[in-house]
Amino acid sequence: MAAPRYCPSCLSLASQTTTTLFRASTPRISPFTPPPQSLLQQPNQLRAASQNALKYRRKDVPASQKRKKARSTFLVPDLRNAIQFSLVEAMRYLRASEVGRPPTSSKYELHLRLRTPKNGAVVRNRLRLPHPVKTDLRICVIAPSDSPQGLAAKAAGAVIVGEEEIFLAIKEGRVEFDRCLCHTDSLALLQKANLGRILGPKGLMPSVKTNTVVKDVGASVREMAGASEYRERFGVVRMAIGQLGFSAEEMQRNIRAFVESVKRDMQGISDQTAKDLHEVVLSSTNGPGLSLNGSFSSGEDGGVGARDVSTL
C-alpha cells in the first residue's frame, strides 16, 4: 500500500482518489500552516538544480538509517530478576488454568531457552518420553495378518493389520488410521492396488524414502507410536511434555528425560557452536509460562504436595 498522500497545498492528509488532480502542479505552501523546515529547504534546493549546491548538500544519514551491527547471539534474560517456581507450584497454577478441560486434550509443553549464536548448527532429534504424550496414534500395517510379521505388528499395538481387506477399505474411503507401514514383502501388492491416489495426498502412502517400508514391523510400530520430535527454532527448543492428566512424578521423569536428551545433543555439536541451556519454562495449552527453578517442590506451599497436584 502506498504511503499516505498529503495535499501539497495545505499539507493535510488527502484521499488517494483526489490527489491525481494535483500531481502535475507545483506544491504551493499555504501561509497558514507552516510546513516543516526540511520540506521547505529541499524542494527549493532541487529546483535551483545548481550542480554546486547538489555537490555540497549535506549527506548525513539520519540516525535510524545508520547500519547497526547485528547481534550474533540470541538475547537471554538475566534470571536473577526472574520469578521462578518449583515443579509442583507451577503445576498447581497450570492445573487451575486448565480446570474442567478433558484430561487428554490439554497438554503441558516445555520451552528450553538456549544461549547460542544465531547462525550455528541447530539441535534436532527424536526422543521417546518415559510417558508418551500422544498415545492414540492409529497405525495400520500392510502385511499378511496371519504371518509372524502381522502378529508382531498387532502385538506391538497396530490398529489395523492385513492386506486385501485394507485395500478394499481404503478404496471405499474408510481411512481410519494416522500412519501406515508396509512390510517389504507386501510392497508389490501395495503398488498393484494403486492406492497412491488416495493415500498420497494425505501423506500416508508407505514408501522406501520415508522409512515406512520395513522389515521388522514390530519394532517400527513401537518406535513410531512413542517418539516425539523436537527441533530448535530461534534459540528455543519446544516440545509437548505431558498431558493434563499426568501426575507430578510422571512430569518430572519426562522433563528429566527431555532435558538430558537436549544436553546430550548440545554436547555433540559443541565443537562447532557453543550451546548452553539457559532457562526452562513450563506452560500449558491454556496457561501462563512459568520459569522453573529446578526443584520439585518447595517447602512453603501452603501444604500442597505432589499428590494434591496430581488429582484432576
Partner: protein, 205 residues
C-alpha cells in the same frame, strides 16, 4: 514482549488474578468432587455456568487442588444446568453428626439441594445447585453458602504488589500515549518528505 521485566509484570498480574478475586475460597476438607454439567452454547441460560467455569472455578481449583473438578458440556440447551458437589463421609457411623450432612438441610432456603445415599458402605452426599439462568456470582454465593467455604483474603504483600502493578500500568499508558504522539509526528514528516521527493523526481524526469 521479550524483556524480562515486562514478562514478569504480565506473569504476576495473571498469577495474582488466579490467586485472588471472585471465587478465591478454601473449601472444607470433606468435599471431594465438584461436577458441572451445562450446554456448550449460552442459549437457554447457560452463560452463568460458563462464566463460572472460566473465572470462579479456576480460583477454586487453585486453592483446592485436591478436589476433583470436572466439567461436562454435552447437555442440550433445554436441559438443566446442574452443579453437583460430592462430599465424603468415610465413616458411616459418624455421618449423623459429621459436618458433611452439614448446614441444616431442613432449614436450607434453597429448594434445589438433595441428599442422596448411594452406597451402604460409603455414604456419599451429593448436593446439587441449579445454575440455569443465574449469573456466576449468584452461583458462587449459593456454593459458598452451601459449603461454608472460607474466603481467601489478599495478604499485605499481595495488596502492595497489586498496587504497584496498577501504578505501573497507568504510567505505562501515559508514556505510551506520549511516545505515540512523537512517533506520529516523525512519521508525518517522513511521509511528506517522501511525497515531495517523489514529485520532484516525477518533475525532473
Amino acid at each position: 514482549m521479550v524483556s524480562l521485566p515486562q514478562r514478569m509484570r504480565k506473569l504476576q498480574t495473571k498469577l495474582l488474578a488466579i490467586r485472588l478475586g471472585s471465587g478465591a475460597y478454601v473449601l472444607p476438607k470433606d468435599i471431594k468432587r465438584i461436577h458441572m454439567r451445562f450446554a456448550p452454547r449460552i442459549e437457554g441460560g447457560h452463560m452463568g455456568p460458563r462464566k463460572f467455569w472460566h473465572h470462579e472455578l479456576v480460583r477454586l481449583k487453585y486453592h483446592n487442588p485436591a478436589v476433583t473438578m470436572t466439567v461436562d458440556r454435552t447437555a442440550r440447551p433445554e436441559d438443566a444446568a446442574v452443579m453437583s458437589v460430592h462430599y465424603t463421609s468415610s465413616n458411616p457411623t459418624l455421618s449423623s453428626d459429621s459436618s458433611a450432612a452439614g448446614p441444616a438441610p431442613v432449614a436450607s432456603t434453597s429448594t434445589s439441594s438433595t441428599l442422596t445415599e448411594t452406597d451402604a458402605n460409603t455414604t456419599e452426599d451429593v448436593r446439587t445447585i441449579d445454575m440455569k439462568h443465574r449469573t456466576n456470582s449468584e452461583i458462587l454465593d449459593e456454593l459458598v453458602r452451601m459449603t461454608k467455604a472460607k474466603i481467601v483474603e489478599a495478604t499485605a504483600e499481595e495488596v502492595e504488589e497489586l498496587r504497584a502493578l496498577e501504578e505501573q500500568r497507568v504510567r505505562g499508558a501515559k508514556d505510551s500515549a506520549k511516545s505515540l504522539e512523537v512517533r506520529a509526528r516523525l512519521k508525518r514528516e517522513k511521509d511528506l518528505l517522501e511525497q515531495a521527493r517523489g514529485e520532484m523526481a516525477g518533475q525532473a524526469a
